[in-house]
Symmetry: D2
Subunit: 485 residues, 4 copies
Amino acid sequence: MALSVEKTPTGREYKVKDMSQADFGRLELDLAEVEMPGLMACRAEFGPSQPFKGARISGSLHMTIQTAVLIETLTALGAEVRWCSCNIFSTQDHAAAAIARDSAAVFAWKGETLQEYWWCTERCLDWGPGGGPDLIVDDGGDATLLIHEGVKAEEEFEKTGKVPDPASTDNAEFQLVLALIRDGLKADPKRFHRMKERLVGVSEETTTGVKRLYQMEATGTLLFPAINVNDSVTKSKFDNLYGCRHSLPDGLMRATDVMIAGKVAVVCGYGDVGKGCASALKQAGARVIVTEIDPICALQALMEGIPVLTLEDVVAEADIFVTTTGNKDIIMVDHMLKMKNNAIVCNIGHFDNEIDMHGLETFPGVKRITIKPQTDRWVFPGTNSGIIVLAEGRLMNLGCATGHPSFVMSCSFTNQVIAQLELWNERATGKYEKKVYVLPKHLDEKVAALHLGKLGANLTKLKPAQAEYIGVPVEGPYKPAHYRY
Amino acid sequence: MALSVEKTPTGREYKVKDMSQADFGRLELDLAEVEMPGLMACRAEFGPSQPFKGARISGSLHMTIQTAVLIETLTALGAEVRWCSCNIFSTQDHAAAAIARDSAAVFAWKGETLQEYWWCTERCLDWGPGGGPDLIVDDGGDATLLIHEGVKAEEEFEKTGKVPDPASTDNAEFQLVLALIRDGLKADPKRFHRMKERLVGVSEETTTGVKRLYQMEATGTLLFPAINVNDSVTKSKFDNLYGCRHSLPDGLMRATDVMIAGKVAVVCGYGDVGKGCASALKQAGARVIVTEIDPICALQALMEGIPVLTLEDVVAEADIFVTTTGNKDIIMVDHMLKMKNNAIVCNIGHFDNEIDMHGLETFPGVKRITIKPQTDRWVFPGTNSGIIVLAEGRLMNLGCATGHPSFVMSCSFTNQVIAQLELWNERATGKYEKKVYVLPKHLDEKVAALHLGKLGANLTKLKPAQAEYIGVPVEGPYKPAHYRY
Amino acid sequence: MALSVEKTPTGREYKVKDMSQADFGRLELDLAEVEMPGLMACRAEFGPSQPFKGARISGSLHMTIQTAVLIETLTALGAEVRWCSCNIFSTQDHAAAAIARDSAAVFAWKGETLQEYWWCTERCLDWGPGGGPDLIVDDGGDATLLIHEGVKAEEEFEKTGKVPDPASTDNAEFQLVLALIRDGLKADPKRFHRMKERLVGVSEETTTGVKRLYQMEATGTLLFPAINVNDSVTKSKFDNLYGCRHSLPDGLMRATDVMIAGKVAVVCGYGDVGKGCASALKQAGARVIVTEIDPICALQALMEGIPVLTLEDVVAEADIFVTTTGNKDIIMVDHMLKMKNNAIVCNIGHFDNEIDMHGLETFPGVKRITIKPQTDRWVFPGTNSGIIVLAEGRLMNLGCATGHPSFVMSCSFTNQVIAQLELWNERATGKYEKKVYVLPKHLDEKVAALHLGKLGANLTKLKPAQAEYIGVPVEGPYKPAHYRY
Amino acid sequence: MALSVEKTPTGREYKVKDMSQADFGRLELDLAEVEMPGLMACRAEFGPSQPFKGARISGSLHMTIQTAVLIETLTALGAEVRWCSCNIFSTQDHAAAAIARDSAAVFAWKGETLQEYWWCTERCLDWGPGGGPDLIVDDGGDATLLIHEGVKAEEEFEKTGKVPDPASTDNAEFQLVLALIRDGLKADPKRFHRMKERLVGVSEETTTGVKRLYQMEATGTLLFPAINVNDSVTKSKFDNLYGCRHSLPDGLMRATDVMIAGKVAVVCGYGDVGKGCASALKQAGARVIVTEIDPICALQALMEGIPVLTLEDVVAEADIFVTTTGNKDIIMVDHMLKMKNNAIVCNIGHFDNEIDMHGLETFPGVKRITIKPQTDRWVFPGTNSGIIVLAEGRLMNLGCATGHPSFVMSCSFTNQVIAQLELWNERATGKYEKKVYVLPKHLDEKVAALHLGKLGANLTKLKPAQAEYIGVPVEGPYKPAHYRY
């Protein structure tokens, strides 16, 4: 692969699509800062003391305008930062350019190949001979995965001299990961070990990434402490829910201009993401149907007036299909064959394997007509009937629109900043073991509090007698850990 | 107090308002059974094996039609049952009559005095010389409180010969509790000890009651195991939320016939109950304002388009005030003085101390005009301006309407049945210590599953490969314990 | 029929259920006045000049608390008033008592037989030897019908000596009307003619009544001028829509306590009433389905996310059925036979013939179980399966609850007052012929304006240059006649 | 102005931005056809008989994908067509290219200057020496205006020899119109007269354009028959309402990516467009405030829970301002000076004079920062505070997004096709005078009916006895003319 790193006049590395978009990126960054009060409050509170002085942070997270404000919050607190995107379509090129020019090493562009994607991830983690990052900001866990797989391969290589064999897996993307590790192994059989040694910890953003971390914790294979940012209330109940409520219709409109009112829309999964999607579609005038495996979430849908059926029940009648499950094999090519002409199929869950893209792409005689980037009509052979697939089955809100809006990302990213600070400040105290932690509730409440002023809210103060009556401190936290909001 | 217990022809004790309403109660019970699939499924699954054979169950829980179906589910499973209401206004007299005639010992009527209320509670716990109940079904914790206070008094009496002094407290209701214990102490200084000895455990229904239990657990004073039914997802995220969404407007309409559309409504507290209330009012066309102490709940309100202000900000402009906090001293008489003429003030949280009824009742020169039972207009002296207080500050959905509808109570009460079964089945195994427990998630999911058929839902089955991919059993449970729904 | 008129100490006639409820009625009247700013503004504006001095007004309109405020507005403006209800179940007995005692001659009680109903209507129109009323306030057109049928019969009798023959019609209710006219004819063969001579005009409230009037206008048989109050925007787009949005769930809850969330509800008809009902049910968490004959209304439902199907499509799956059509034969007994057990069937359209009550009542072997007044379970033979019919197929919001709330009725009734004033003031000018008129738009806008202050609204004033730009007067009216709102 | 007409290989004239986008346009046209069942039904029903054979149609209407399907429906029915856009920002260049290449003469591109705009309008009307079009499809009335002003100028010139003087008006755009007429007058002093002679009629699409037509009818200056398509129910209650409900958030998101949830949004005007906008914003989680001059519309807003205030009341607190009035001078530069930093100001009403763009542009020291096309930040001098204006004050849904979606435009445009057919078919019968007409209700109902199948609806058939009962034909129309839906 003929990719080469470029350098700014000051010598910082980068690889972006078009550096001339940096000014445009900066204008949108300026607007976004006004919408991200949590991050700006972090700059005001912590900036003067430079707590990240000396810290190297690598981030693998959609390289959008909002992420750019996060990055510049980290650098404002003293960190050095390298960044890549965690999705081949999610980079906003003007954001990447502005950050590359002004603030951090960026390796990201909209429309990477998978091979380019992993090259970017490797660049992001590579801080040169001195090893890797001190801290990782992760989204979906790909940076964490690469290090864990790298360490595993180096151990095997040390013991047996064997290198990873891409042919050992069917998964095309994982083949690339193994090849990348294999190729690096020869040049430096200890670089992932050095990374592991240096690493203080990771903070992870998504349901999917967190699930991987808990699995590694359970099997004792987690190599460093992790903070589960996803399960901060101010993340999962805001970003996942209200973010998707905003960005799902945004993506649908930009990609297809289709009238949502009057249509039948199927939302696969009724977790936080599904709830946001179903709410948005319903309010836009669609008739929404939910599919669920979990009877509790199913009953929630029913209480909101949404029928719960199987995909098979409705596949031939629906106009729009959205996967939100975080699971795989939700909409298969056999389902697609039964859909109405021009049914829209998209994913806002996590990975593109929610939709059987492989089955579709390899269906004999299928014809792909690209309407515009990220909007493809697939026509089945012997018919004039086709379906419209968004963002090649990847996150449609990032592929077809610009992801979640700044305000809700400010909640998520303020959690990230606080988690990174916590890991860094406690790096020598032993407070965090090789386990997965959530942020304490008072920090979660603090994140929320930082976002109230912008919306003109006026909180009620608890009186001491009231605090005593319900058994909480006057200043919070106000709820038990198990409280569900 | 000249109350006397009556007896059915078969010798079962009771005290209800009007036994002639039993037929009417039975007709409504028949309707309710169709709406309570969870309870009916328990009867079908467990009835034949009579698991409660030999168990005495005392319940302190609103004596409504829905509770009647719960009671007859317990008796269908073999239990003997005694019952009282946990609120002076919440009994439905026809439900009480039907149960008293047909199924269990009931001591409850709509419009008890506080003194009568505690007499009923005492009757409910008194199984005669052989001690008390084996199990308690509690709502708000009054039955549990009485036993704990009783035991404490008996211990003090044994040690020091002192009896409780009602004058030691300002709380008028607690004075009655102390007097009741004091009076019983002379006759039988060990009856609460005998109750404690026999008791296998309690299952508790409400946020408020659960809070008391955790406080007792924390201070080591809890006398028997407790199952926190409130925090089953199928309870707190259904009954509290969807139940109140239904019963708040129901209570408002029956009590005042007021047009909700166009009005300004203040909801104090945005927990599950507050969320349900705010949703109902908003959908009926009110402009809703929320007051909150918790920044996270406040931010949730804002994301739904609901402003968050303090009561002081809006007290003079609003038309309807609803307390949902579970805390005390929310709306004080000073607030009431600033309200518009005919502002409606009501409570759907838990205790009547959310509203400063004492301050209102003792305000010099205030005049109370009873429009109809549970609907009073209070006119301040020197004005023609008054406010309308519902249910004397107690739960307005039970005082002014009929409480939550059967279907959602079926979720809550199926949890109760399962909790009671769990306590009883494990009574000899030592599984449950003197602590507070929640039901395991698979039982929570089972409760939900039992309610899907009635609503025509069709669940998707997880495929084994999918289950493995997300790391859950094919049959569930599907979510980690911390999942918030 | 052994009904006899009673008299107040001052000699005013009445027939109500229970005069002792007058105080309770007065308390609720006091509350309602605060919620009816339009009527109170009429009292303030017109009261001093006593414009109705000398006018006799007969009203046939649900004798509720709200109507009581209307009646006392008419009397405050100088009128003498006689009143009956226009529905056998819609009277609120405390309202009737308060008016009978304090303000006007009332003949109405909840639960009249049809025979009693027409007796009341006759009493209402009978002002003694001097003939009938000067003005009629009508709702559904029964008062107008009686006079038209009476005049027709008197003409026939004069010409041919024939009297009406009740056996000439199958319609049981119309048989009663003919019998009543026949019986009166013998005693006084000219009384309806005298009524007609005196009558200045009628103002009519409902879609159904208005339809009758236009039909009479078209055939040249209308005997006096009529003002169509129904089609004031501030009536049909408020009372019909927002009134029903409020009172449909109110009636359902009071009658059945059923949980609306999760249920499948069929709304037959998507006019203003149907729109209000569908909105209420949807917002309460039901899955709503609409049936329609009109493709435009159907497309409106679809744009709101509501499927449009036929009753046959969904009769076996739905839980709640509501008729709102103003047409007949909507839900037939054959439909009822296919419904689920305990399906709820009710009518909020206009007449009870929307539901095939005759077919149900005469179905061989059907069993009627009255749960409580206005709530009947009908069980079909050979099954344990039944349906629940509300208010015997008549208006369920008035039969099972208290009708529309005061605020929205203030809009409707202010139109009535203005229409009555218009007819009376122009009684000698010939402005109104024997035709049907709607109120001019500036009066419609005035009615709205009178209701804004209570809700804290602040209207924008049009600047002269803006008014000129859009070609309207600065003070309105602001819209062309065909504007649809 | 150095604009020159280009020609296709077949000699058809055009001027578009980029002919290479024609393939992309065709792909989107193919998708749109599936979403426009009314237009496709017209092709199927009327195509074979070629009713427009020989008719020249000129259209001035946003040159979008949806309009392209309209144009190709007109050509499929036999018409020859010339087209321009009615808004400088509303053209979709790929749609223009596809039509220019394949179907009709197009003069339109996104981002015309005003001078270019009127050049395009002139080109659209100019069919060569033989005069102008037979029929006009108008949106906003600019084509109609040009002809009326042209005829007026020619008459004046004939009488007095005077030519129009652009300096006679302050309105910059009207100066261009006068200059254009003046310049043409010298070359050919009768061309607008020839156009007038040939013209059979116009069908007009918008509230604004219709207002102009009624004013001309009232003053007797209307030169040819006009059909008011705007007031077809299937236009004004669908396109205006549901179209804006869709395209307002679409425009906001594409232009600013701002989170709508939690924001305060002011909607100026609560007509059909305002209702759609308010509904969309509310459902997205904004707190919506409406300003209104009309008390009836104001009361409607209040019934939906939306406060009605003046702009002055809220100008300093709101985040988003939307004008929907069709009037001028709604948001003045003095208002803008009081707004919060980065408040968003946009117009979806009709002309850009709803917002005081002139006042803003000429404010001393104001600085304009173009974030991206159609999204400008205006910073006031001496502050860092600015506001964000979309689409330079013009229609933001067309300037910043792609306008209304196909399905709802199919309703509007099917009315256009039917109106054009009606004018053309009756061109010799004298049925239409120089007046403004609306389509008869049965055609309105037909338009709706053509759109039901796509959404899976199943209409109920009226039975003859029912039709008779309510006095309508079995096949409709079902409602009186004054019915408001």
